[in-house]
Amino acid sequence: MEFQGYRRPNGKVGTRNTVLVIPSVVCSQGAAEAMTRNLKGTVYLPNVFGCAQVGADREQTKRTLVGFGANPNVFSVLVVGNGCENLPAKEIAEAIVPSGKRVEWIEIQEVGGTKKTVAQGKKILREMLADAAKEKREPLPVGELILGTECGGSDYTSGLASNPAVGEASDLLVRAGGTVILSETTELIGAEHLLAKRARTPEIGKKVLDLIAWWENEAIKTGQDIRGANPAPGNIAGGITTIEEKSLGCIYKGGTTTLEEVISYAHPPTQRGLVLMDTPGHDIDQLTGMMAGGCQIAVFTTGRGTPTGSPIAPVIKITGNALTAKKMRDNIDVDVSAILKGKETVKEAGKRIFDEIIAVASGKLTKAEKLGQRDFCIFKIGLNF
């Protein structure tokens, strides 16, 4: 089975052909925004970190930014630094080089102010765009896709309709040789035993249980009831009572195949098939982590509705809630509310989602892309000093 995509120099496949500007630090975000403005085909990451970070926290920010640059949806990269930050532009650019694409870096202090930096950046971006325009889509195996799965703004329809339907689509992709990332570790609390049972080895199963235990312990350490954050107030209004109930509905997205691997935040999968990435339940933190791990396309189920999109990859929004499908039609790509009306089976809806994944991977634009919705948020794990 094939889709129409871009083959990159390192052999990976992309669903988009973006020229990406990465501000290595929050201070250069303004220049990055200015140089991509009115330059169709370019996009910048609204990065708010990149300085005064140490240890694992700095490493995670770097890995995420590098992962975005290396993502096969990105044709070439310009890293823009300020010059004095502790996550320098050069360091990020050099880490992206092994992906084989063109990577440049400039610094505001070196170039001499914002205006000159924007002008120089635009010049580089125009060259990159001219080269990007020469790239052509070609038939590529569906099995090379890494699909990110996510649910946000969940309500009762998520566990009853949209997540089971996405699970069907996940199974279809895994059977075609592809990779599916399940994430949002906190939203496995109460359902981890079911996932651990499906692990390829007892070690992988134990990793699942250990991860959930860590997150649960972190929640308990705050001294607060996790319900203050998860389920969110909207989840509760939508009929979800506890984190366990939300989690049990949530894991349907991963389908029924064997869990092959557990990876940490923003790391690329090393196995094909179903993998679990350790991320928070926070929608944009986890979406960002999956994209940094090389995912080229995502499906996002929602009950209450959400506008989420990514700067570098299409995010297909799916709802099982008929009211939301109608009320938020400019955000929703696939309506599977017929499942609860008994007019479509979960299997039929899953096939429809799978077909949409192939169409979008081949270039069809999602609602979030049309709206220019480009959410980006790195999962921060330490203090800024």
Binding site: Y156, G190, I236, T241, K341
Partner: protein, 98 residues
């Protein structure tokens, strides 16, 4: 395809059903449960997407949905009563009350 019931029971182990339309107090709802049609008279209004008890659930016992425990009751729940945050608490992610 036949008209769907106004409430869904996902797993035969479940002791709650999920309303897929808003349901009024006093209505009798027919649900497919353990292979038979079960009639439940509602003791409270049930907003769309919310749960009601299929049987009496004593204080401190498990509420079961998707065939798995989703929390335990903080008050005895009668058959047909609304089951939500006012009478169910999570087992997970929080310190047990002293």
């Amino acid at each position: 395809m036949a008209q769907r019931s106004k409430a869904i029971v996902i797993n035969e182990k479940d002791n709650v059903a999920t309303a897929i339309v808003p349901l009024k107090e006093g209505t009798t709802v027919t649900v497919d449960f353990q292979g038979r049609k079960e009639k439940v008279k509602l003791r409270s209004p049930i907003p769309m997407g919310h749960k009601f008890a299929l049987q009496e659930i004593p204080l401190g016992s498990d509420v079961i949905k998707y065939g798995e425990p989703i929390g335990r009751t903080t008050a005895p729940i009668a058959r047909g009563e609304h089951v939500h945050v006012h009478n169910v608490i999570s087992h997970r992610g929080r310190k047990e009350a002293p």
